[in-house]
């Protein structure tokens, strides 16, 4: 069938950045985790780096619009993400992989991704094809009809990534997508991220510095709920000198940028 380009696809975006935050304050429970964060993210792969507890997961949840900011402004795909309503339209174009995601054990991979496609309001006629495409892209085609409970950790992660990209998102949020993947799968994921990053705003949270060096066009470095650094991987590498610990230039740069404010509470 001849593919028609819809008006929605040709419409100008109406926003300069997929994500724009100013003075953003986020709370996990009663604790303020992120405070005074200013951020603008456009198309490309943005690596979100930082030590454990820096607020990466909380920030990603806010970007996924499941956590309402406690203060400041946050615009996602040109819509304010601070209210209780008006989220439906931007959410159709967001893909989100939480750090720990649950699933129904008896569902097959295909059923899981199809169910998520339904929840994301992918038009019914497109669901089977979109599902197959997403499963193909993460390399799970041979497991598509296996039950979720039979998958290994790395395969589950990939099924999670498949559900995140099933609606062809404009903003893709992946929280620790490389956990549990073996080295070859990580290389494949980086390639996928680079492909997606050509026309999508991808935010990948990770604590593996080498992932960022290999796949990301931009890096956000967070520590203690603040943005310490925003730039390119090359700029991070340039910040480090031989006196900083680390095995690669980017690791030394990471150590250098985080070392400035002395981390409290032990050597870890």
């Amino acid at each position: 069938m001849t593919r028609l380009v819809g008006a929605a696809e040709l419409a100008p975006a109406g926003y300069a950045f997929e994500v724009r935050a100013a003075g953003l304050r986020l709370q996990a429970g009663r604790r303020t985790v992120v405070d005074g964060l200013d951020l603008s993210l456009g198309t490309g792969v943005h690596g979100l780096l930082g030590p454990n507890g820096a607020g990466k997961t909380t920030l990603i949840r806010a970007l996924a619009t499941v956590l309402r900011p406690a203060g400041g402004t946050l615009e996602v795909l040109g819509r304010p993400a601070t209210g209780r309503t008006g989220l439906r339209e931007p959410r159709r174009r967001i893909g989100y992989l939480p750090q720990e995601f649950g699933y129904y054990r008896r569902f097959t991979v295909r059923e899981f991704v199809e169910y998520m496609a339904w929840l994301k309001e992918v038009p019914g006629a497109d669901v089977p094809a979109a599902t197959q495409r997403a499963i193909d892209r993460v390399g799970l085609a041979d497991r598509a009809d296996h039950r979720m409970k039979t998958l290994s950790g790395g395969m589950l992660r990939r099924a999670g990534i498949a559900q995140a990209i099933v609606n062809d998102p404009v903003l893709l949020l992946l929280d620790e997508p490389t956990v549990g993947l073996d080295p070859a799968q990580r290389v494949r994921l980086r390639e996928l991220l680079q492909t997606l990053g050509a026309d999508t705003c991808v935010v990948v949270s990770t604590h593996l510095v080498e992932d960022v060096a290999a796949a990301c066009t931009g890096v956000l470095l967070m520590a203690d709920g603040r943005l310490v650094f925003q730039g390119t991987p090359a700029e991070i590498a340039a910040a480090g000198g031989p006196e900083h610990p680390g095995d690669s230039p980017i690791e030394r740069g990471y150590a250098a940028l985080l070392a400035r404010p002395e981390p409290a509470g032990g050597t870890w």
Binding site: R61, V66, T85, E89, R91, Y96, Y104
Partner: protein, 273 residues
Amino acid sequence: MSTEHVPDRLAGRYASGDPGIPADELWAVEAHLESCARCRDRLRLMLPARAPEVAALVDGVWAGLLPALHGAAPAPGRRRRRSLAAWLTPAMVPWAGMSLIVAVLAVVFDGAFRGAGAGGGVAVLLAAPVLPVLGVAASWAAGADPMHELVAATPRAGLPLVLRRTAAVLLVLIPILLVAGAWTGVVIAQWLLPCLAFTTGTLALGGLVGVARAAGTLVAAWTVTVPALAATTGQWTAPLRTDVLPVWAGLMVIGAAVVVARRGGHTALAASR
């Protein structure tokens, strides 16, 4: 889409790879071929005569592909489980089983209650308001549904999805209670209104403090109120007497009104983490 097919001459030129076909015609031919099986078939029949090398290539590819295609299983048409999950998630199955067991127990213990002079169907009546509350909690609380975080981030999250799942809860529960009620001789009106009032109450309160907390509060309130009223009035079914039913109807309407007024809720992660 055009209804005009590719003329034989043009199709022949296309099949032999004639570079002289103007670009716009070429584009039109290819666009038509994508959507017209008949013209594709005509093209296939022309190939061996017009472009033997292409025909050989296609045959070669098919020869290589066919064994692999025979090995691959066709995409299964199993969509039942997913369509069902649109209403009743697998996380709610344990609740449905529990409701069934509670209903059976209520019928079994009915005789014992009768013996104690409590009147017929007391156990069914007392269980009726609590079961839907637990069902709503199972369908939407963060701890009960493993997919909660994934679902909460989707556009369908929110009141429509909650109502859908609540409808499924009631569809499962009402027949169970209907049978249990008929068995023990309880009138439907006596348990249906409290049952619905507690359901809307859970949703209304859930929009404010989270479904899990709302369910806990309501179940606790019910387990405290019933014995207290029983002690003062000497009647276990005091809150369910027919003259109290208008109160239940009122509560149901208030609950529904709050749900509608706060319909923007249920789109964020439940607060219980």
